[in-house]
């Protein structure tokens, strides 16, 4: 049992893992912000476009959501990091992970916002337009606030999933928690650093998972 909690190895692993926590959090927060913003933007565009020349845009947005729902995030990350340089696009590991996680979350977020928007009764649009609001105003002041309430539990869950997926960045040498633990593990041939990293992830994400569960019951979706 000692080998799993070797104090010397743990002490050697801690500084790296501690700095990894910063990288994990930084990557998580930036990709979540970018993904949610992207999803909201696309769903808004999809809700507001009208008229024949723009029709295909809605289809394109839906296709984007489908493709990035079908694509494993790790495959996307590997393509961005290992294939894009052949096209002269050199992304750092952090940037590649940020783009991959942002695109994947953006697709889910678009779908979640779109589902929220379409669940708002058509009568709300009509009533808002009849009071003299423009389409944009009706969307922003009447439809979106009602839609957003429905999106909070699923969006929270996708955001947490994105935070956990930052561990994928270890594959492209981003020095986040898992990567730091794995490199000390390789030097010391001890499982202790991995267990320490696992403890860090539990401390970071268990409260969030509990909050996600609470939101789901509280908003009573399903």
């Amino acid at each position: 049992m000692r080998i799993f909690f070797d104090p010397e190895v743990l002490a050697a692993a801690w500084p790296g893992i501690r700095s990894g926590i910063g990288v994990t959090l930084g990557l998580a927060l930036t990709s979540i912000a970018a993904g949610v913003a992207l999803g909201l933007l696309l769903a808004t565009v999809r809700a507001l476009i009208r008229g024949a020349p723009l029709r295909p845009v809605g289809g394109l947005i839906a296709a984007y959501a489908d493709v990035f729902r079908a694509m494993p995030p790790l495959v996307l990350l590997v393509v961005l990091y290992f294939a894009a340089p052949f096209a002269g696009i050199e992304l750092s590991g952090f940037m590649a992970a940020f783009v991959a996680l942002g695109l994947v979350l953006g697709a889910s977020a678009e779908e979640i916002f779109w589902a929220g928007i379409t669940s708002v009764n058509r009568g709300q649009w009509e009533a808002a337009l009849s009071t003299g609001l423009s389409r944009g105003e009706a969307f922003r002041r009447v439809v979106l606030p009602q839609a957003v309430r429905l999106t909070i539990p699923p969006l929270t869950n996708r955001a947490i999933a994105t935070g956990k997926n930052t561990a994928l960045a270890s594959v492209v040498a981003v020095p986040e928690v898992l990567n730091q633990a794995a490199s000390v593990q390789a030097q010391t041939a001890s499982p202790a650093p991995l267990l320490l990293a696992a403890g860090v992830y539990v401390a970071l994400f268990l409260p969030l998972v509990r909050i996600g569960r609470w939101l789901e019951t509280r908003f009573h979706i399903r």
Binding site: P72, V75, P154, K164, T166, Y201, V202, L208
Partner: protein, 223 residues
């Protein structure tokens, strides 16, 4: 443009690496054949245990489920595949990956099935019991058939996630589709095998996404 094709969709490289990729695809399929039935089986066990256990039991189970969910799947995978050998347990790589991903995905299947069971009105229980059916028979003949039907889109959605999850196996050197694509890329110093692998994943999963849409499913899966 032709330079672009030569780099990213090089027919020669793709033809030469197709054998490797197909072998990788077969490993991915095998991983799915462990993880999906395994996840459904243990998920069903979890859902039934949470339904039938007294309140404190269900509460502790929900904490256990959340504890597993707090691990990024890749961390759980690395921990099990690289940690078990220190306990002198050395499962074959495919089984190690299967165990880790089954643990992860069964918590999601479990929650979905439990939501399905909870979606059935208590009066259904009462009516079934009053006809003389026992608890097990009520679950089997009355609750589960209706409950599972209510959550079919979510079950399909989680199956999609489970298939995507198997790509993580490449990180612990299981020769799955993604791993083989990386190997082929290294051999030819050309990214075409990666692009081909990505296209294969899409070809495999796009129909499933469309099917889920048709069932009325959304990306509301828990984290």
């Amino acid at each position: 443009m032709s330079e672009f094709f030569q780099t990213f969709l090089n027919p020669g490289v793709m033809a030469e690496s197709s054998g490797l990729l197909l072998r990788g695809l077969w490993v991915t399929v095998q991983a799915c054949l462990i993880v999906i039935p395994g996840g459904l089986f243990f998920g069903a066990g979890l859902a039934l245990a949470q339904t039938l256990a007294p309140a404190w039991g269900a509460r502790s189970l929900s904490w256990g489920v959340d504890l597993i969910r707090a691990f990024p799947p890749l961390v759980l995978l690395v921990l099990i595949v690289h940690g078990l050998p220190f306990l002198r347990i050395e499962p074959p790589p495919l089984l190690g990956v299967g165990i880790a991903l089954t643990i992860n995905t069964s918590t999601y299947y479990g929650e979905i099935l439990r939501a399905g069971i909870l979606s059935i009105e208590p009066t259904q229980w009462e009516a079934a019991r009053s006809t003389g059916l026992g608890t097990a028979a009520t679950l089997r003949h009355v609750i589960l058939p209706q409950g599972v039907r209510n959550v079919l889109p979510d079950l399909a959605g989680n199956t999609l996630e489970a298939v995507k999850l198997t790509s993580l196996a490449s990180v612990v050197a299981l020769p799955d589709l993604l791993r083989m694509a990386r190997v082929a890329q290294g051999v030819h110093f050309n990214p075409s095998p990666l692009i081909l692998a990505a296209v294969l994943y899409l070809a495999l999963l796009w129909p499933l996404v469309r099917l889920i849409r048709r069932m009325g499913g959304r990306a509301v899966l828990p984290a």
